[in-house]
Symmetry: C2
Subunit: 80 residues, 2 copies
Amino acid sequence: MIVAVNVHLKKGVLDPQGKAVHHALETLGFKNVNDVRVGKQILIDIDTDNKEEAIKEVEEMAKELLANPVIENYEIKVKE
Amino acid sequence: MIVAVNVHLKKGVLDPQGKAVHHALETLGFKNVNDVRVGKQILIDIDTDNKEEAIKEVEEMAKELLANPVIENYEIKVKE
């Protein structure tokens, strides 16, 4: 089973990467972009068929390693 | 409207970040992880209410800037 963890900087935390992409898009002529946030998507291929168990385990992984709780939020989604 | 662009290295392209996360997870005791891939999730807040129009425009952004077609794949999903 593949579980996706989307990790993004919390609102209010400066996102220089997002600003850079936003500026580049405007330079390329994309004028109707209000904001851009760049984060990580971590795809974890976990050896189980039990959805609840997979989510529970990936939640622990996110807390222990994948996301910095001080400046980042994360969301977990089962992909396959 | 917020559109997510998930950008990942193509299969077969070495993903050192994914390898490092996989190794760290094993060290922390998570033993049932088959593989880890780390990519980018870019959230674009675009000034339109028309879903098709937003997807079409973000597709162009992905082709021109957000993904390197030689080594990366991308998928586009409307979030809100």
